[in-house]
């Protein structure tokens, strides 16, 4: 599922909206069927890292399914 921002967006203070992971990582999590909210984040500023997602999905470190 699409992750939700950890703080709801209030028009004036929207800058405080901090999402749980960087977009490519969110996308990867979605593709791998990993729920970001189920993870303990280990990335900077409490974000979920690519490694967290891959670990949860049991993927190889590179996390790439299409390399030749």
């Amino acid at each position: 599922e699409t992750p939700v921002p950890s703080t709801p967006a209030a028009p004036a203070a929207a800058a405080s909206v901090q999402v749980l992971a960087k977009p490519p990582v969110r996308k990867l999590a979605k593709d791998l069927g990993v729920d970001l909210r189920s993870l303990t984040p280990t990335g900077p500023n409490g974000t979920v890292s690519r490694g967290d997602v891959e670990a949860a999905a049991g993927a190889e470190p590179a996390g790439v399914s299409t390399g030749s």
Binding site: K27, S65, T66
Partner: protein, 463 residues
């Protein structure tokens, strides 16, 4: 099947076919690529590339004509169509050479001639049958016409003829206000012709967000490109040196437009007739080949890619599908393509570009209350002011959610769609983009400003 000739046998070497071939070869598969014309197909020879060369020559003509406003004293003496065509053909030839070298370099067997599907995994070319463990149908598309509208190649022409014109027509009627129609209208106007576009739907580039159509129409009006929307073709009378086109407005009233030429740009139909698809039992609809989201037809081992498959008729969609199929065959389990995530660009002056959903489609998908939009006018964008171009960046997001649509109008904005497509496909939030302040002064800064605004913190825009 005992021992097929190839792992992958591809019928048609256009964008879809050759991309599939290149990727398959790279993955160690043997590839046969059947082509009756030139590798590169429509896009390279009579599509994307030559039209964009014309559009660039058109840009040069416009810049020269309007150079005075930038302090450059120059005069435009005329368009030398032989020169334009030499330039255009030169670009095509260079890329064609490069592609031929690539195909050869990867060890792909090119089979020259017209092919026909003569068995579930068999294509016959000039009497010789070739077999593949997998077959990929990629025979592309060609210009369509309307009932009762006969293309003579002289006065009533398609894009293919238009690309070979040896003169600038004094006046043209362009039938169809979609991408191809608008691009040719734009070129001819820049070259000095009187142009009238006739479009049956209520607006130009009707597949785009309504705001984009409006902005393009405004820009075309300024450029004195005439257009009649909600107007249908009725009939044409082609004379020796001109055409008289009768059209019919929404209320049924008829009028006649006279011009040197009529360009028929009412869409492109699949090239599938007589190729044996039917006979082999491929499921088809109105001539198109139907596939699932893995580009598989109903026949085991038979795939289809590119313009013969219903959906966007774009070269890079063909690339993407071709690559996808090669990877699927190689067992890499690629992820299905999100058709809405494929970027679309109309390369007219001004350009129109988009990715994701229009506002209307997003409202349908998520409810009018479930979305938010913002428009950032290029009037606030320094680089656009420098280029003296007008337009906007429009964003559609799901409330508290990702950006689901990006719509752009303005000269050169087609180049911004790369960034927009990452945001859409990676499901970026405006809040992800907002902190990354863009390079100043660029046009891509406008994309940044729009995201700042949508994140609730407009910088160079009123709150």
């Amino acid at each position: 099947m005992a021992d097929p000739d190839f792992d992958v046998l591809i019928l048609g070497a256009g964008s879809g076919g050759y991309a599939c071939a290149l990727r398959a070869a790279q993955l160690g598969l043997t590839v046969g690529l059947v082509e009756k014309g030139n590798v590169g197909g429509t896009c390279l020879h009579v599509g994307c590339i030559p039209t964009k060369a014309l559009l660039h020559a058109a840009e040069v003509a416009d810049q020269t004509r309007e150079s005075e406003q930038f302090g450059v004293r120059a005069s435009l003496e005329g368009i030398d169509m032989a020169g334009v065509n030499a330039y255009k053909d030169g670009v095509v030839q260079r890329l064609f050479k490069g592609l031929t070298g690539l195909i050869k370099g990867r060890g792909i067997t090119v089979i020259e001639g017209a092919g026909r599907l003569t068995g579930p995994r068999e294509v016959t070319v000039d009497g010789k049958a070739w077999t593949g463990r997998h077959v990929v149908l990629a025979s592309g598309s060609s210009s369509r016409s309307l009932p009762g509208l006969e293309v003579d190649g002289e006065r009533v022409i398609t894009s293919e003829h238009a690309l070979r014109l040896d003169r600038v027509p004094a006046s043209v009627v362009v039938l169809g206000g979609g991408v191809i129609g608008c691009e040719f209208a734009s070129v001819w106007r820049s070259f000095g012709a009187e142009v009238t576009i006739v479009e049956a739907l209520p607006r130009l580039v009707p597949a785009e967000d309504e705001a984009s159509s409006k902005a393009l129409e405004r820009a075309f009006r300024k450029r004195k490109i005439a257009f009649r929307t909600d107007t249908r073709f009725h009939s044409v009378k082609a004379g020796d040196s001109s055409v008289a086109v009768t059209v019919e407005g929404a209320g049924g009233e008829q009028s006649v437009i006279e011009a040197d030429l009529l360009l028929v740009a009412v869409g492109r139909g699949p090239v599938t007739e007589g190729l044996g698809y039917d006979e082999q039992g491929v499921t088809m609809e109105r001539g198109f080949v139907l596939t699932d989201d893995r580009c598989r037809t109903n026949l085991e081992g038979v795939y289809a890619v590119g313009d013969i498959v219903p959906g966007l008729q774009l070269a890079h969609r063909g690339f993407q599908q071709g690559i996808f199929v090669a990877e699927d065959i190689a067992g890499l389990d690629p992820r299905p393509i999100d058709e809405a995530g494929i970027p679309r660009v109309t390369y007219s002056h001004p350009e129109v570009a988009s990715v994701g959903l229009s506002e209307a489609d997003a409202a349908t998908a998520y409810g009018a209350d479930g979305i938010e939009t913002v428009s950032y006018d290029l009037g606030g964008n320094g680089k656009s002011q420098i280029l003296k171009t007008q337009g906007f960046v429009k964003l559609v997001r799901r409330k508290d959610g990702p950006v689901v649509g990006v719509h752009l109008v303005g000269d050169r904005v087609g180049e911004l769609i790369g960034e927009a497509q990452l945001i859409y496909n990676w499901e970026g939030y405006p809040e992800d983009v907002a902190p990354l302040v863009h390079a100043h002064p660029t046009q891509n800064e406008a994309l940044g400003e729009a995201h700042l605004a949508l994140a609730g913190k407009p910088l160079h825009a009123h709150s």
